[in-house]
Each structure stands twice: as C-alpha cells, then as structure tokens.
C-alpha cells in the first residue's frame, strides 16, 4: 500500500508498569493498526516518561490506560506537561475511570474517555478526527 502523501496517524498507547491487565489495550492497539494507524506501545515507571516518548515519536494522539488506580496523579501531570512542551497531541484515556471524575478530567484536557463496554469504533472515530 502506497502511503506517500497520506499522513499516517501515529498513536502512543501507554500503561503503567504496575498495571497488570493489558488485554484491553492490546486489543485497541490491534484495532487501530487495522485502521491504518501506527501504534507505539509503551509501559512507564513514572508518567514523565510518557511525555518524553510522545515528544520523540511526534505522535498525534497520546492514550493512557488505567486499571485500578493511578489516573489521579498521572492525568493532570501528563496533561500539564503536554501543554508545557507545546505538544498538540490529542489526549485520551481508557480503563476503569469512575464516572464522577469524567468532568474533572475533561477540564484538565482529556479529549476522550473510553471505558470497557464501549464500542471500539468510537475510539477509532475519535482519533480519526485529528486529521479532520
């Protein structure tokens, strides 16, 4: 397939070292790849690594996955850091994120929250809009 001249969407999918269950993230990675995107997978010890990688890989989307815990600190930290470095990547998150926190997270700059039970097509659509 000749991709010259077509801007391929690059997506960074990140998960903490401590978060064990990753089958959801792997599935999403496959779905995005099948939708023609380049998916970079990473695990991080501390969330500063996410922005460092996002910078080097020049990604269009930064996606973080949380099962159980961690978003309380990581999301605001990453969101702020993305702004500090003038990165225009779309910031989305997924996993077990309690509903009451969605407004607060959206306020922080999260542009999409995807929890289990939602259709994968929604995620693809949301990401495709970076090229719209």
């Amino acid at each position: 397939m000749d991709t010259r001249g077509k801007r391929t969407i690059r997506v960074l999918l990140a998960k903490s070292d401590q978060d064990a269950h990753d089958r959801g993230l792997r599935y999403i990675a496959g779905v995005l790849r099948d939708a023609g995107m380049e998916v970079i997978l990473m695990r991080y010890r501390i969330c500063e690594e996410v922005v460092s990688v996002a910078r080097q890989e020049n990604v269009d989307v930064v996606g973080m996955s949380f099962y159980g815990s961690g978003y309380r600190y990581d999301v605001p930290a990453v969101s702020m850091s993305l702004k500090e470095h003038n990165l225009t990547a779309k910031f989305i998150i997924g996993g077990t994120i309690p509903r009451e926190d969605w407004p607060m997270l959206t306020e922080m700059g999260v542009e999409g929250i995807f929890v289990p039970g939602m259709k994968t097509e929604e995620i693809v659509e949301c990401i495709r809009q970076v090229r719209a």
Binding site: M1, R10, G30, A35, M37, E38, M42, R55
Partner: protein, 322 residues
C-alpha cells in the same frame, strides 16, 4: 529552514518534527539532506537484524547502557513492518528500552516500513542521517526478519550485527537470505536455552565457506541479553570492527556506502515515478486488459509500453511538474 536550523542546534523536538515531516512527505527530502550533509559523518552506524524473537531490542537496550556508561550519545531507529493492506503498524520495540526514556543522551524513534518500493525505505535511511547530523555518536538501526530489508540495512551501516537464537533453524534461513556475507558480528542470544554451541559450530563452518571482500573475520559471541551477560563483549567487538575499518578502509567504506545509497535512491525514485505514471497511462491499462484476456503475451505487452514515446513523455513531464 527553521526546523533544520533548530535541529542542528540540538533541539530534539525539532528533530522529532523533522522526522515526521520526512515520513509524511510534507517536505522535500533532498532539500533537507543537502542542508545537513556537511553535518553528517560523525556518527557510527550499527545495523541490528535477525528473526523475530531473537531478542534484538533487549540487546539494543543493554548495548545502549554500555555506550552511555562510556560517555557516548545514542540514536536508535526501530523499524517494524507496516501492513500491506491497511498501512497500519504495531511499533512495540520500545517496551524493552524503558530505562532510557528519560535520558536526553538517547533519542529513539519507531518507524513503520510504510509500503515503499523494496525493503528499508529511503525515509528510514534519511532518518538515520538526521540522527547523525543531530550529533549522536552511535546510531543503531533495528529491523526484523530476513530478506530484502536486511540487505538494505547493510548498505548503510558501518557494522552489521546479526542476532540469532539456538534451536530456531536460523542458520539455514540466514544463508538463504545472503545475510551471511554481510554480517560483521554474529550474536547468539538466549544461550540459557541451550544448544548455543551447535549453532556456533554451524556458523563457523558456514563462514569458512563464504568469501568476504575485506579480511574481517566475523566474531561469534554468545550472550544472554536479558541478563546483560557478555553484552560488553559485543560492544568491544564493535569497537574492534570500527578500528579495522579505520585502519585504512573507513572513509573508503563510508564513501562506498554513500555510493550504494545513491544508486539505490536513483533506482527507487525512478521506479516510484514510473509506477505513478503508468497508473494513468492508457496504453498500460489497455495492455493489462489484453494480457488478462490472453490476447497478448506479457513480454510483448511490456515492450510496447517501453517502446512508446508517449510513455517517456509522460515520465519526463512528471519530473518537470513536481
């Protein structure tokens, strides 16, 4: 232009955006390459190839640690295959190299092969040069598999490392792919799984039988990359090879590589253009039909296209229009 200037000044974000622009064809590659040409030549390029599961990423991770401890900066390009159908790719090699994410002396970039005509794309080769201009001391390029991709890598790297695992029938594969002639160092990884000796013996025998243009004798080093065992030796072998090249041949060797790249680029660009032209060429489409219906044989059909003045006009026009 601005991005290039910033990148040459050491701005990693500019480098990242530049690479993106090159990948997405937003920018004229030759213009960039000419602007940075004088800044290249400092970095040492190392290609790392081998079948999937051989542990290349782990080896690169540990090698990078050794290089950093020696005070060198490192650039890493990891290439994974893009799907021919969807164009997408899963770029997962980074996971092994987590230790270096926050180290500013290490710049890592994951790339898909993104179609392109033949093996390691000219874009990947351009990215390697960008890392060189960015003043990385060592530039490591990792690709997976056996075949066209690997021989491409050999044409740009100074030292080529082939990583194999025991029990995987790799020697036969590697011989078929012609890789034996171009690997400068052989690494047998995952020796904890046994049978490394058999593979080493097979390799030595195979090496004895083949000819190299230079007199370098590729060392065979067994390691357990995951436990960092003997990775230092791989680094030392790289240094030895570098010394070997330096003693007389290095500049020649570099220039030869530039020549190979140049020849390849001409071929690739020409082929690319030609294919684009043909897609819109009426005679081509007609002959495609005729071949399909059995009206004409493929050879004559081809000769008709190439002998037609129309075809060459169209090709020339495509260059002047660009």
């Amino acid at each position: 232009m601005e991005l290039v200037r910033k990148m040459l000044g050491g701005d990693a974000d500019a480098l990242s955006q530049l690479i993106g622009a090159v990948e997405d064809d937003l920018i004229n590659i030759s213009e960039i390459m000419s602007k940075i040409h004088q800044n290249t030549g400092h970095g040492y390029y190392i290609g790392i190839t081998g079948p999937p599961g051989a542990g290349k990423s782990t080896l690169i991770d540990k090698l990078t640690t050794v290089m950093r401890e020696e005070g060198h900066s490192v650039g890493i390009v990891m290439v994974d295959p893009s799907s021919h159908i969807t164009g997408g790719a899963l770029l997962g090699d980074r996971v092994r190299m987590q230790k270096h994410y926050l180290d500013e002396g290490v710049f890592m970039r994951s790339m898909g092969t993104r179609g392109g005509v033949g093996g390691l794309s000219r874009k990947a080769r351009a990215v390697v040069r960008l890392l060189d201009a960015f003043k990385k001391d060592f530039i490591l390029v990792e690709t997976t598999g056996v075949g066209q991709v690997e021989t491409d890598i050999c044409d740009i790297s100074d030292t080529n490392i082939l990583v194999l695992v025991p029990n995987a029938g790799d020697v036969i594969q590697a011989m078929k792919a012609g890789i034996m002639e171009t690997a400068d160092i052989f690494v047998i990884n995952k020796t904890d799984l046994g049978n490394a000796d058999n593979l080493a013996v097979d390799l030595s025998l195979a090496l004895e039988q083949q000819k190299r243009r230079d007199n370098w004798i590729p060392p065979i080093i067994d390691v357990q990359a995951s436990n960092s065992l003997r990775v230092q030796q791989v680094y030392e072998a790289i240094q030895l090879h570098r010394k070997f090249l330096d003693e007389g041949l290095f500049l020649q060797h570099r220039r030869r590589k530039g020549v190979e790249d140049f020849k390849k680029l001409v071929r690739e660009e020409l082929l690319d253009r030609f294919v684009t032209v043909l897609k819109n060429n009426q005679k081509f489409k007609t002959n495609l039909d005729r071949v399909e219906r059995g009206e004409i044989d493929p050879y004559s059909a081809c000769a008709e296209i190439l002998n037609s003045v129309e075809t060459w006009e169209a090709l020339r026009n495509s260059f002047s229009n660009k």
